[in-house]
Assembly symmetry: C2
Homo-oligomer: 331 residues x 2
DNA sequence: CTGAAAGCGCTAACAT
DNA sequence: ATGTTAGCGCTTTCAG
């Protein structure tokens, strides 16, 4: 269809090699040649064929951002969206493009892991199948894990200080004077859940606060589910005066349930979320939450990946993003 | 690095061609051969090189979803996220991967349009530079426009019945008994703005409602801006009792401003949004809004693109997604 | 500064 | 059913 390098070579009277150079390293080509090459290229509507180039160069300048199926839909996930954006930005700086995929693209129907497209590197977001990662590495494709750790040698990961965040959230509630603090936990990956639960429990222990299993509940992490479940919790006798919700979406659901029940937030019930995602500022009153800087998270993940791709020495293999308390209107 | 088809051919004693066939059309290869090929492949950790394949096949099984820079960040945009998800799903069905990019990836620093990667087709979401589209088509790459029309021959597009939607919104407000209805319009593309404004105006005209320029305002389409602007509007004398906001994010900002001003929604001020995005169900009270089925929008766009890629006859070149009123709690 | 030529890894006729 | 072979379009030594 399109013109090839040969067409422009013929048209301008130089060889393929010179045409190629004119595009790749113009400084090694005479002015005269450049002029004629560019003119011919323009006239023929020539554009270098990146896939041919990739074949010889052995790299594609593509990276993939892969979401484990269980986390799908991810783009709708207010937590991952800004990290993907940051990744895209880092990629753009280096002239890389990003593919976005689910684990489907990595697994063959027969269960084998298949690298459907050639990627120079891959970022796995969220809970991820070990096989997929191992397979990729077996193909010498650099991998960085985001928000999930796998027990693989030299695997680089960037995760979050979940424990610390949970401690900040719970402590804040305690410092606001709450003695009975409940937990509304979303069923994310075990790693995340466990760390956040531990953080919460440790604060209760530190301050000798009561641990009431009726008020430590697991739910599917959707706003609807949070709303439904929380509406019931609100009717229980001796319910806590405050709840730590393990993400903003859940917290928003809780706030909605409280508001609908005619309660005042935070006067009648205090809530703190987690992530500082966009939903924390959408709900009114706005959520007090634990901030994770998703942009730096994405940026660092991308930087690590590019370091790997360029075979640079990595300073650290496990990076943990710190969290911080953002006090708004629900506490 | 990785093993090539030759390595496995040597190892299993068959030719390259047979190995290739074993992967592409297993039914044309003897059981014995398949067995040995797969064994050798497994042992060598062989995986077909997709870029070599793409070079000979002249197609990559990749499509791109491109967002015009002005719409960035798009993934955060609650309207496009579900559209993209639908596109990804359609692509996955056909074993295609999707590339996500901003107009940066399409434009060279010098302003030329450069097709950085070879894509079998491209979906442009939102306001888009004509040059980019023309250049793509010059390279014979199928394009479908999403939510934006360009005056190019045979350009296929899928857009929204913006006018109809605005009429539905405004009419609903009128039917709720409102006589003074304001407009809080986000500065999207001219096409969208104009259609929605016209829809609004036509309803005012139909019912002989007053047109007050003080209450027909343009803003940047962010929640913060909506909040700020709306807070001021609320203080103006003789303000409308209802507002049509041209998207849910703006509507949410308006609701927040009203709530903060101590107003009851909808008793003191009614609001209707547009899009039926996730934010319409995040804010409390939940937004009455105009629904656009983003999933079908994405699906149709993808289907049109694949039809183009497969050189099928298209039934329609301009598809408009209908809108519908969703009454919730703000009216 | 420019050209010739050897691949990059794979597919798809065309033979056998 | 399997093998041979000619590219796909480009980059990159290596010569000149």
């Amino acid at each position: 269809m399109g013109a090839t390098i040969i067409d422009v070579a013929n048209k301008c009277g130089y060889s393929k090699a010179t045409v190629s150079r004119a595009f790749i390293s113009p400084e090694t080509v005479s002015e005269a040649a450049k002029e004629r090459v560019y003119a011919a290229a323009k006239e023929l509507n020539y554009t270098p064929n990146t896939i041919a180039r990739a074949l010889v160069r052995q790299h594609t300048e593509n990276i993939a951002f892969i979401i484990h199926e269980k986390q799908y839909p991810t783009l709708l996930n207010p937590f991952y969206a800004p990290v993907l954006e940051a990744v895209m930005q880092e990629a753009a700086k280096r002239n890389y493009s990003v593919f976005i995929a689910t684990s489907n693209d990595v697994q063959l129907p027969n269960g084998d892991v298949y690298i459907k497209k050639h990627m120079d590197g891959v970022i796995f977001a969220g809970q991820t199948d070990v096989n997929a990662v191992e397979e990729l590495r077996r193909q010498n494709i650099p991998v960085v894990m985001l928000n999930h750790e796998l027990d693989l040698k030299n695997l680089v990961s960037v995760t979050v200080e979940h424990f610390q965040g949970a401690v900040q959230a719970t402590t804040h509630l305690y410092e606001c004077g709450h003695k009975k603090i409940g937990l509304l936990a979303g069923r994310f990956s075990d790693q995340v859940c466990e760390a956040r639960l531990n953080g919460y429990m440790s604060v209760l222990a530190t301050h000798d606060l009561p641990v009431d299993p009726r008020f430590i509940v697991d739910i599917e992490p959707t706003m609807e589910e949070a709303e439904t479940v929380f509406a019931k919790i609100l009717q229980l006798p001796d319910r806590p005066t405050a709840f730590f919700c393990t993400n903003d979406t859940i917290a928003a659901g809780a706030v909605k349930a409280a508001l609908r029940a005619g309660l005042r937030v935070p006067a009648d019930i205090a809530i703190v979320g987690f992530d500082d995602s966009i939903v924390s500022r959408t709900i009114e009153p706005e959520l007090t939450t634990i901030r994770i800087d998703a942009a730096v998270m994405g940026k660092i993940a991308a930087q690590q990946l590019f370091a790997l791709i360029n075979k640079e020495e990595l300073q650290m293999t496990h990076i943990k993003i710190p969290t911080s308390l953002v006090v708004r209107k629900t506490t």
